[in-house]
Amino acid sequence: MGKLKVIGMWASPFAIRPRIALTLKSIDYEYFEENLRAKSDLLLKSNPVHKKVPVLLDGDRPICESLVILQYIDEQWTSGPSILPSDPYDRAIARFWAAYVEDKFFSALSGMLKAQSEEAKAEALGQTKEGLELLEKALKDCGKGGAFYGGEGIGYVDITFGSYLGWVRALEIMGEVKLLDEEKTPGLVGWAERFCSHEAVKNVMPEAEKLIEYAKKVFL
């Protein structure tokens, strides 16, 4: 059985997720940085349906879609911290919030990045702030008093939502706005600091300044 490989891209919030999960479980892997404007044969062969990163290659078996990959990692390597809780209801709640982040929160953030008019920017900003307030409340509900959505340790929702924090910071700087706010979202402010400084996260979370440079080239 060959080594474990992750095909990713440094600026992609989706692609850092498997790397966080594997590090959390102390699993070694080989990392391949992909050039999304000139996709490698390996990527196209491993993810013919979507042609996207991340892809996890376990031997020659590809697993695609970051949330599917997270669950695979959790189920394949059962020693080490769990990513999803064990109770079926808690798992359903974790999946719910991860799906919310992927769908609603992601489109609000994208909206902020891609908005052209002042009107569109204001709308995207409003939606992002609304989403953050919901996620602030969810932190209390899911975390049950712990430091993370996963409780004492980082879990599925932490990884899904936290992977956007580099971009959240970049958008704060670019838009001269405060998204994570001591007044409205104090829980998230503390959580974000803890998540970004976590051993499994700090080496893969992209720096806001680099993301801003990247955004200027690609989006603006």
Binding site: I63, V68, I69, Y72, P88, Y89, A92, R95
Partner: protein, 221 residues
């Protein structure tokens, strides 16, 4: 302790039918509560405050939303009979990937087929719809069901859209059976299972409903 299971749903919703399928396959008794989507009940709004959508499953007072999340919950809370996911992690990942693809593509492309006002939009939707069905046929391969010998997550996720095939066909100008014979053969195998038939609605009624909706809500004829 007796389980109390309630489903808040709308009869024509393919997402709701996924949950009805899972409950039926596992022989779980539940109370079905039809929702009027233009006049949402306090219970629905309380149970799904974030999205205010159906389906919502309420199990012993605990609400779960999002159809595929509900189906996986049902599978984990009632692991037998009819397990919907295989035991091997790679096979489970494969099932989740394809269920996710159905989720991302089928409803959206289908909707653009019957709700589009322009022929151009409809043609684009049709091309994407065909691409998606081709991929699903290829994934099914020679297997009896996506789940192998028994229905699994992908079968449960995809099958309810059969009740909408006539809608897609009439407005898209094609026949699923002509373009995708393997899909129709799979549908027929699924419908041989009594518990499956019980959970699905009459495609004729869905078609009538959509014709009405296009007229009243979208002003299309």
């Amino acid at each position: 302790m007796a389980d109390e299971v309630t489903l808040l749903d709308f009869w024509a919703s393919p997402f709701g039918m996924r949950v009805r399928l899972a409950l039926s396959l596992k022989g779980i008794s539940y109370s079905y509560q039809e929702q009027d989507l233009r006049n949402k009940t306090p219970l629905l709004l309380k149970s799904n405050p974030v999205h205010k959508k159906i389906p919502v499953l309420i199990h012993n007072g605990n609400p779960i939303s999002e159809s595929l999340i509900i189906v996986q919950y049902i599978d984990e809370a009632w692991p037998t009979p009819s397990p919907l996911l295989p035991t091997d992690p790679y096979d489970r990942a494969r099932a989740r990937f394809w269920a996710d693809l159905v989720d991302k593509k089928v409803y959206d492309c289908g909707r653009r087929l019957w709700a589009s006002k322009s022929e151009g939009d409809r043609d684009i939707a049709k091309a994407e719809f065909f691409e998606c069905f081709k991929l699903l046929e290829s994934e099914l391969g020679e297997r009896r069901f996506f789940g192998g010998e028994e229905l699994g997550l992908v079968d449960v996720g995809f099958l309810p859209f059969w009740t909408w095939f006539r809608v897609y066909e009439e407005f898209g100008g094609f026949r699923v059976g002509d373009e995708f014979p393997k899909v129709m053969e799979w549908v027929e195998r699924c419908l041989e299972v009594e518990k499956v038939r019980e959970a699905l609605v009459d495609p004729g009624k869905v078609y009538e409903f959509v014709v009405q909706m296009r007229r009243k809500v979208f002003g299309l004829d």
